[in-house]
């Protein structure tokens, strides 16, 4: 039997990239801005999304895709704000992929939606590798996670357009330097926009809202 060699040079994640491009086109056709929100578990993604929906309800129509390994806790919390929400349970997968997003799109009425927030599975590693068709990636880091995270998980900090340093009201109680987070994040990604926020005291949230509103003018 003749042994043959086939040259391929194919991106292993090509299938994901192809579906991400379809999603991106779909969002463009519907006039929806999609953002991919990523963080470790417990950094405060869902609380921030709930707060953002309530704060901007007279200005923006926001829909949400909730990604979790298990449970519908987050979708229930979002649903209570009155926003459209679809829960994806990955059943073990540590990140969302473009196909999972694609399969949820028929469950939304996106005609009146301005902003689609995709809350990824809580994880600082894998979500950074999978494009979903979003316009940009937004990352949360709560100060109780520690100021060493940018250098420990550089890929996510590199991929994000925005870093929200969350729970800054806890600063008196934890050993964390916000300045170190800023410096080391910018070392990885000099174009990163950084906001310091607290959903508890509402500090810094206006800047985040202004950034979102400016994004929608793009």
């Amino acid at each position: 039997m003749i042994e043959i060699k086939i040259s391929l040079v194919k991106n292993v994640l090509e299938a994901n990239e192809r579906i991400a491009a379809q999603n991106r086109q779909f969002f463009a056709d519907k006039g929806v801005m999609a953002i991919n929100m990523m963080s470790a578990p417990g950094a405060g993604k869902t609380t921030l999304i709930e707060d953002t929906i309530r704060s901007l309800k007279n200005e923006l129509n926001i829909a949400v895709i909730e990604g979790d390994i298990q449970s519908t806790y987050d979708a229930e919390a979002i649903s209570a704000t009155g926003a459209q929400v679809v829960q994806i349970n990955t059943g073990g997968a540590c990140h969302l992929d473009a196909n999972m997003i694609n399969e949820t799109l028929s469950q939304f009425d996106l005609n009146l939606v301005d902003l689609l927030i995709i809350e990824n599975v809580g994880n600082l590693v894998c979500p950074a590798e999978f494009n979903l068709g979003e316009y940009c990636k937004v990352m949360l880091l709560s100060i109780s996670e520690g100021d060493d995270k940018p250098l420990k998980y550089p890929v996510m900090f590199h991929e994000a357009s925005v870093l929200l340093i969350n729970k800054i009201d806890l600063l008196p109680y934890v050993d964390c330097s916000i300045e170190k987070i800023r410096q080391e994040s910018l070392k990885i990604n000099p174009d990163l926009t950084i906001f310091e926020i607290s959903c508890k005291t509402r500090q810094g949230l206006n800047d985040w809202h202004d950034w979102l509103k400016a994004l929608l003018l793009k």
């Binding site: 292993v12 994640l13 590693v125 250098l151």
Partner: protein
């Protein structure tokens, strides 16, 4: 990270391509994996071995070529090889580095009969 789903993609890509070349058996698949892709080679080899059992790729060997991290400094224009994540230019110290290589995750070729 997600080595199992990567192994599954490799199996799908290669098995879909095999009939085009009249291959019934694949001996080796060569991959090019960048050093900062967050893929663990051992976990990928193990995942591939498990998932390829009883498929047409049962017994196929994965050859992994690692690609070093190369960055281009947007400030001074120099290119460098980095041992780690490219934090800052070793020449001028500026942070604005464009990653040229090190994030590949590709099937380069496969061989069979």
């Amino acid at each position: 990270m997600h080595e199992l789903s990567i192994a599954q993609s490799i199996i799908e890509i290669v098995t879909q391509d095999m009939p085009k070349h009249n291959l019934t058996k694949v001996d080796t698949i060569t991959l090019r994996i960048g050093e900062i892709t967050q893929v663990m080679p051992d976990a990928l080899l193990f995942g591939f071995e498990c998932l390829s059992k009883d498929t047409s790729l049962d017994g196929t060997k994965l050859i992994i070529e690692t690609v070093p991290v190369k960055g281009h400094c947007k400030t001074c224009g120099q290119d460098f090889v980095f041992e780690d994540w490219p934090y800052g230019c070793p020449e001028c110290g500026q942070a604005d580095i464009q990653i040229i290589s090190g994030r590949e995750l590709e099937i380069v070729e496969f061989e069979g009969s």
